[in-house]
Symmetry: C2
Amino acid sequence: MKQNLKKSRQRETILKTLYQLKSHPTAEELYDLVKERIPRLSLATVYRNLELLSEMGHVQKLDTGGRQKRFDGNATDHPHVVCVVCGKVADIELQNDLNFFDAILDKRGYDIFAQKIQFQGICLKCQNMTPAKI
Amino acid sequence: MKQNLKKSRQRETILKTLYQLKSHPTAEELYDLVKERIPRLSLATVYRNLELLSEMGHVQKLDTGGRQKRFDGNATDHPHVVCVVCGKVADIELQNDLNFFDAILDKRGYDIFAQKIQFQGICLKCQNMTPAKI
DNA sequence: TGACAATTTAGTAATTATTATTATTATAAA
DNA sequence: TTTATAATAATAATAATTACTAAATTGTCA
Protein backbone atom coordinates (compact mmCIF):
# COMPACT_ATOMS: atom_id res chain seq x y z
CA MET A 1 0.00 0.00 0.00
CA LYS A 2 2.87 2.36 0.79
CA GLN A 3 4.19 4.36 -2.12
CA ASN A 4 7.20 6.58 -2.40
CA LEU A 5 6.87 10.29 -1.97
CA LYS A 6 8.46 13.25 -3.62
CA LYS A 7 10.29 15.31 -1.10
CA SER A 8 9.76 18.78 0.05
CA ARG A 9 11.02 20.24 3.28
CA GLN A 10 7.50 20.75 4.52
CA ARG A 11 6.31 17.23 3.78
CA GLU A 12 9.39 15.62 5.24
CA THR A 13 9.26 17.69 8.39
CA ILE A 14 5.56 17.06 8.90
CA LEU A 15 6.07 13.31 8.56
CA LYS A 16 9.22 13.23 10.67
CA THR A 17 7.64 15.29 13.42
CA LEU A 18 4.58 13.04 13.54
CA TYR A 19 6.78 9.94 13.66
CA GLN A 20 8.71 11.32 16.61
CA LEU A 21 5.60 12.05 18.64
CA LYS A 22 4.01 9.45 20.85
CA SER A 23 0.91 11.62 20.94
CA HIS A 24 -1.92 11.80 18.43
CA PRO A 25 -2.14 15.45 17.43
CA THR A 26 -4.78 17.26 15.44
CA ALA A 27 -3.67 18.86 12.19
CA GLU A 28 -3.54 22.18 13.95
CA GLU A 29 -1.44 20.92 16.86
CA LEU A 30 1.01 19.40 14.40
CA TYR A 31 1.02 22.66 12.44
CA ASP A 32 2.06 24.56 15.57
CA LEU A 33 4.93 22.15 16.14
CA VAL A 34 6.26 22.11 12.59
CA LYS A 35 5.87 25.86 12.39
CA GLU A 36 8.69 26.17 14.91
CA ARG A 37 11.02 24.74 12.31
CA ILE A 38 9.37 26.23 9.22
CA PRO A 39 7.87 29.54 10.28
CA ARG A 40 6.21 30.30 6.92
CA LEU A 41 4.37 26.96 6.93
CA SER A 42 0.73 27.06 5.96
CA LEU A 43 -1.97 25.12 7.77
CA ALA A 44 -3.37 24.01 4.41
CA THR A 45 -0.03 22.37 3.65
CA VAL A 46 -0.33 20.32 6.81
CA TYR A 47 -3.86 19.23 5.93
CA ARG A 48 -2.91 18.40 2.35
CA ASN A 49 0.08 16.35 3.32
CA LEU A 50 -1.61 14.50 6.15
CA GLU A 51 -4.37 13.54 3.73
CA LEU A 52 -1.83 12.36 1.20
CA LEU A 53 0.28 10.52 3.74
CA SER A 54 -2.73 8.73 5.17
CA GLU A 55 -3.99 7.74 1.73
CA MET A 56 -0.57 6.27 1.04
CA GLY A 57 -0.58 4.37 4.29
CA HIS A 58 2.26 6.23 5.98
CA VAL A 59 0.12 7.65 8.76
CA GLN A 60 -3.33 7.01 10.19
CA LYS A 61 -6.26 9.37 10.47
CA LEU A 62 -8.29 8.92 13.67
CA ASP A 63 -11.88 9.76 14.46
CA THR A 64 -11.95 10.09 18.18
CA GLY A 65 -15.15 11.93 18.90
CA GLY A 66 -13.92 15.50 19.02
CA ARG A 67 -14.60 17.93 16.23
CA GLN A 68 -11.11 17.63 14.85
CA LYS A 69 -9.57 14.51 13.39
CA ARG A 70 -6.33 13.26 14.92
CA PHE A 71 -3.27 11.69 13.34
CA ASP A 72 -1.08 8.76 14.30
CA GLY A 73 2.43 8.23 12.96
CA ASN A 74 1.95 4.51 13.46
CA ALA A 75 -0.17 3.37 10.53
CA THR A 76 -0.61 -0.23 11.66
CA ASP A 77 -3.89 -1.35 13.23
CA HIS A 78 -3.64 -0.91 16.97
CA PRO A 79 -6.09 -0.01 19.71
CA HIS A 80 -6.42 3.41 21.28
CA VAL A 81 -7.81 4.88 24.43
CA VAL A 82 -9.49 8.27 24.26
CA CYS A 83 -10.20 10.70 27.08
CA VAL A 84 -13.79 11.83 26.67
CA VAL A 85 -13.07 14.97 28.69
CA CYS A 86 -9.99 16.47 27.04
CA GLY A 87 -9.75 14.31 23.91
CA LYS A 88 -6.23 13.04 24.59
CA VAL A 89 -5.45 9.75 22.85
CA ALA A 90 -2.99 7.05 23.85
CA ASP A 91 -1.93 3.75 22.35
CA ILE A 92 -2.82 0.65 24.26
CA GLU A 93 -1.78 -2.97 24.08
CA LEU A 94 -4.07 -5.97 24.25
CA GLN A 95 -3.31 -9.50 25.28
CA ASN A 96 -4.98 -11.43 22.53
CA ASP A 97 -6.38 -14.35 24.46
CA LEU A 98 -8.49 -12.60 27.08
CA ASN A 99 -11.76 -10.79 26.73
CA PHE A 100 -11.56 -7.12 26.03
CA PHE A 101 -11.77 -5.33 29.29
CA ASP A 102 -9.36 -7.70 31.00
CA ALA A 103 -7.00 -7.83 28.05
CA ILE A 104 -5.61 -4.33 28.38
CA LEU A 105 -2.01 -4.62 29.50
CA ASP A 106 -1.45 -1.01 30.48
CA LYS A 107 -4.37 1.36 30.91
CA ARG A 108 -2.03 4.37 30.76
CA GLY A 109 -3.79 5.76 33.82
CA TYR A 110 -7.10 6.04 32.03
CA ASP A 111 -10.28 5.18 33.86
CA ILE A 112 -11.98 3.15 31.14
CA PHE A 113 -15.73 2.65 30.90
CA ALA A 114 -16.58 1.92 27.31
CA GLN A 115 -15.28 0.47 24.09
CA LYS A 116 -15.90 1.16 20.46
CA ILE A 117 -15.24 -1.62 18.01
CA GLN A 118 -15.48 -0.81 14.38
CA PHE A 119 -14.66 -3.01 11.43
CA GLN A 120 -13.91 -1.46 8.10
CA GLY A 121 -14.76 -2.99 4.79
CA ILE A 122 -16.74 -2.64 1.61
CA CYS A 123 -20.44 -3.34 1.54
CA LEU A 124 -22.10 -5.68 -0.93
CA LYS A 125 -23.46 -2.89 -3.07
CA CYS A 126 -20.07 -1.17 -3.41
CA GLN A 127 -18.34 -4.50 -4.11
CA ASN A 128 -20.60 -5.04 -7.09
CA MET A 129 -20.07 -1.57 -8.41
CA THR A 130 -17.79 -1.81 -11.46
CA PRO A 131 -15.23 0.96 -11.27
CA ALA A 132 -15.71 3.69 -13.86
CA LYS A 133 -13.38 3.60 -16.87
CA ILE A 134 -11.00 6.49 -17.12
CA MET B 1 -27.25 6.94 32.86
CA LYS B 2 -30.60 7.35 31.11
CA GLN B 3 -32.77 10.16 32.31
CA ASN B 4 -36.35 10.94 31.53
CA LEU B 5 -37.25 13.39 28.85
CA LYS B 6 -39.83 16.07 28.49
CA LYS B 7 -41.95 15.43 25.44
CA SER B 8 -42.53 17.41 22.36
CA ARG B 9 -43.90 16.02 19.14
CA GLN B 10 -40.62 16.70 17.37
CA ARG B 11 -38.44 15.07 20.00
CA GLU B 12 -40.66 12.04 20.33
CA THR B 13 -40.89 11.52 16.59
CA ILE B 14 -37.14 11.90 16.13
CA LEU B 15 -36.47 9.31 18.82
CA LYS B 16 -39.18 6.92 17.67
CA THR B 17 -38.04 7.11 14.08
CA LEU B 18 -34.44 6.39 15.01
CA TYR B 19 -35.51 3.45 17.17
CA GLN B 20 -37.45 1.91 14.31
CA LEU B 21 -34.54 2.10 11.90
CA LYS B 22 -31.97 -0.65 11.66
CA SER B 23 -29.73 1.77 9.81
CA HIS B 24 -27.40 4.40 11.24
CA PRO B 25 -28.47 7.66 9.66
CA THR B 26 -26.77 11.02 9.66
CA ALA B 27 -28.67 13.90 11.26
CA GLU B 28 -29.67 15.04 7.80
CA GLU B 29 -30.95 11.65 6.69
CA LEU B 30 -33.02 11.41 9.85
CA TYR B 31 -34.28 14.93 9.26
CA ASP B 32 -35.53 13.91 5.81
CA LEU B 33 -37.42 10.98 7.30
CA VAL B 34 -39.01 12.83 10.20
CA LYS B 35 -39.89 15.70 7.89
CA GLU B 36 -42.38 13.40 6.17
CA ARG B 37 -44.39 13.37 9.38
CA ILE B 38 -43.63 16.91 10.54
CA PRO B 39 -43.18 19.00 7.41
CA ARG B 40 -42.24 22.21 9.23
CA LEU B 41 -39.43 20.47 11.14
CA SER B 42 -36.13 22.30 11.34
CA LEU B 43 -32.77 20.61 10.83
CA ALA B 44 -31.46 22.45 13.89
CA THR B 45 -34.15 20.75 15.97
CA VAL B 46 -32.87 17.37 14.86
CA TYR B 47 -29.29 18.25 15.74
CA ARG B 48 -30.30 19.71 19.09
CA ASN B 49 -32.37 16.70 20.09
CA LEU B 50 -29.88 14.12 18.90
CA GLU B 51 -27.25 15.86 20.99
CA LEU B 52 -29.57 15.86 23.98
CA LEU B 53 -30.66 12.27 23.48
CA SER B 54 -27.11 11.05 23.17
CA GLU B 55 -26.01 12.96 26.26
CA MET B 56 -28.82 11.29 28.14
CA GLY B 57 -27.83 7.88 26.87
CA HIS B 58 -30.90 7.16 24.76
CA VAL B 59 -29.04 7.06 21.49
CA GLN B 60 -25.43 6.79 20.38
CA LYS B 61 -23.39 9.16 18.29
CA LEU B 62 -21.02 7.42 15.91
CA ASP B 63 -17.78 8.61 14.36
CA THR B 64 -17.39 6.53 11.28
CA GLY B 65 -14.87 8.38 9.21
CA GLY B 66 -17.14 10.41 6.97
CA ARG B 67 -17.63 14.13 7.47
CA GLN B 68 -21.01 13.66 9.09
CA LYS B 69 -21.61 11.93 12.38
CA ARG B 70 -24.09 9.04 12.42
CA PHE B 71 -26.64 8.01 15.01
CA ASP B 72 -27.67 4.66 16.42
CA GLY B 73 -30.95 4.05 18.23
CA ASN B 74 -29.26 1.28 20.16
CA ALA B 75 -27.22 3.02 22.85
CA THR B 76 -25.56 -0.10 24.22
CA ASP B 77 -21.95 -0.89 23.34
CA HIS B 78 -21.89 -3.04 20.24
CA PRO B 79 -19.56 -3.40 17.28
CA HIS B 80 -20.17 -1.89 13.86
CA VAL B 81 -18.96 -2.44 10.36
CA VAL B 82 -18.46 0.57 8.12
CA CYS B 83 -18.23 0.70 4.35
CA VAL B 84 -15.25 2.87 3.50
CA VAL B 85 -16.69 3.56 0.05
CA CYS B 86 -20.25 4.71 0.73
CA GLY B 87 -20.15 5.11 4.51
CA LYS B 88 -22.98 2.69 5.23
CA VAL B 89 -22.89 1.25 8.75
CA ALA B 90 -24.24 -2.07 10.01
CA ASP B 91 -24.38 -3.75 13.37
CA ILE B 92 -22.36 -6.87 13.78
CA GLU B 93 -22.21 -9.63 16.36
CA LEU B 94 -19.10 -11.13 17.85
CA GLN B 95 -18.58 -14.53 19.41
CA ASN B 96 -16.72 -13.59 22.53
CA ASP B 97 -14.28 -16.46 22.75
CA LEU B 98 -12.56 -16.24 19.38
CA ASN B 99 -10.06 -13.74 18.08
CA PHE B 100 -11.46 -10.75 16.31
CA PHE B 101 -11.46 -11.51 12.66
CA ASP B 102 -12.81 -15.00 13.15
CA ALA B 103 -15.31 -13.95 15.79
CA ILE B 104 -17.71 -12.13 13.48
CA LEU B 105 -20.86 -14.19 13.25
CA ASP B 106 -22.41 -12.46 10.27
CA LYS B 107 -20.37 -10.14 8.08
CA ARG B 108 -23.52 -8.68 6.55
CA GLY B 109 -21.96 -9.09 3.14
CA TYR B 110 -19.12 -6.72 3.93
CA ASP B 111 -15.64 -7.50 2.70
CA ILE B 112 -13.72 -6.66 5.84
CA PHE B 113 -10.05 -5.68 5.89
CA ALA B 114 -9.43 -3.63 9.01
CA GLN B 115 -10.56 -3.01 12.53
CA LYS B 116 -10.60 -0.01 14.78
CA ILE B 117 -10.63 -0.60 18.50
CA GLN B 118 -11.10 2.37 20.73
CA PHE B 119 -11.56 2.43 24.46
CA GLN B 120 -13.14 5.42 26.09
CA GLY B 121 -12.28 6.72 29.49
CA ILE B 122 -10.90 9.61 31.45
CA CYS B 123 -7.20 10.35 31.53
CA LEU B 124 -5.22 10.79 34.74
CA LYS B 125 -5.08 14.55 34.43
CA CYS B 126 -8.83 14.89 33.98
CA GLN B 127 -9.52 12.46 36.82
CA ASN B 128 -7.59 14.69 39.18
CA MET B 129 -9.36 17.80 38.04
CA THR B 130 -11.79 18.80 40.80
CA PRO B 131 -15.09 19.75 39.24
CA ALA B 132 -15.93 23.44 39.52
CA LYS B 133 -18.47 24.36 42.17
CA ILE B 134 -21.79 25.58 40.88
C1' DT C 1 -60.00 27.61 33.82
C1' DG C 2 -56.69 31.15 33.01
C1' DA C 3 -52.33 33.73 33.93
C1' DC C 4 -47.67 33.33 34.08
C1' DA C 5 -43.28 30.86 33.76
C1' DA C 6 -40.48 27.64 31.48
C1' DT C 7 -39.36 25.01 27.53
C1' DT C 8 -39.13 24.11 22.74
C1' DT C 9 -39.37 25.23 18.22
C1' DA C 10 -38.43 27.27 13.33
C1' DG C 11 -35.66 29.95 10.90
C1' DT C 12 -31.51 31.90 10.30
C1' DA C 13 -26.91 33.61 11.38
C1' DA C 14 -22.48 32.39 13.09
C1' DT C 15 -18.75 29.28 13.76
C1' DT C 16 -15.32 26.14 12.60
C1' DA C 17 -12.84 22.29 10.44
C1' DT C 18 -11.49 21.11 6.18
C1' DT C 19 -10.90 21.53 1.14
C1' DA C 20 -10.30 24.13 -3.20
C1' DT C 21 -8.10 27.74 -5.75
C1' DT C 22 -4.40 30.36 -7.53
C1' DA C 23 -0.31 32.78 -8.17
C1' DT C 24 4.30 31.87 -6.83
C1' DT C 25 8.29 29.12 -5.60
C1' DA C 26 10.86 24.93 -5.34
C1' DT C 27 12.27 20.59 -7.26
C1' DA C 28 13.40 17.37 -10.87
C1' DA C 29 14.39 16.12 -15.64
C1' DA C 30 16.48 16.87 -19.97
C1' DT D 1 20.93 25.86 -17.45
C1' DT D 2 16.31 25.60 -19.41
C1' DT D 3 11.92 23.67 -19.15
C1' DA D 4 8.43 20.91 -17.09
C1' DT D 5 6.35 19.24 -12.96
C1' DA D 6 4.92 19.47 -8.45
C1' DA D 7 4.43 21.80 -3.96
C1' DT D 8 3.70 25.79 -1.33
C1' DA D 9 1.57 30.05 1.06
C1' DA D 10 -2.21 32.61 1.39
C1' DT D 11 -6.73 32.99 1.00
C1' DA D 12 -11.46 31.93 -0.50
C1' DA D 13 -15.01 28.53 -0.49
C1' DT D 14 -17.58 24.73 1.43
C1' DA D 15 -20.18 22.22 4.56
C1' DA D 16 -21.38 20.35 9.11
C1' DT D 17 -22.68 21.80 13.30
C1' DT D 18 -23.94 25.15 16.88
C1' DA D 19 -25.78 29.54 18.63
C1' DC D 20 -29.27 32.89 18.64
C1' DT D 21 -33.86 34.83 18.82
C1' DA D 22 -38.59 35.71 18.44
C1' DA D 23 -42.68 33.09 18.38
C1' DA D 24 -45.25 29.04 19.75
C1' DT D 25 -46.14 25.36 22.90
C1' DT D 26 -46.44 23.24 27.21
C1' DG D 27 -46.51 23.03 32.21
C1' DT D 28 -47.83 24.87 36.82
C1' DC D 29 -50.87 26.13 40.21
C1' DA D 30 -54.01 29.68 42.16
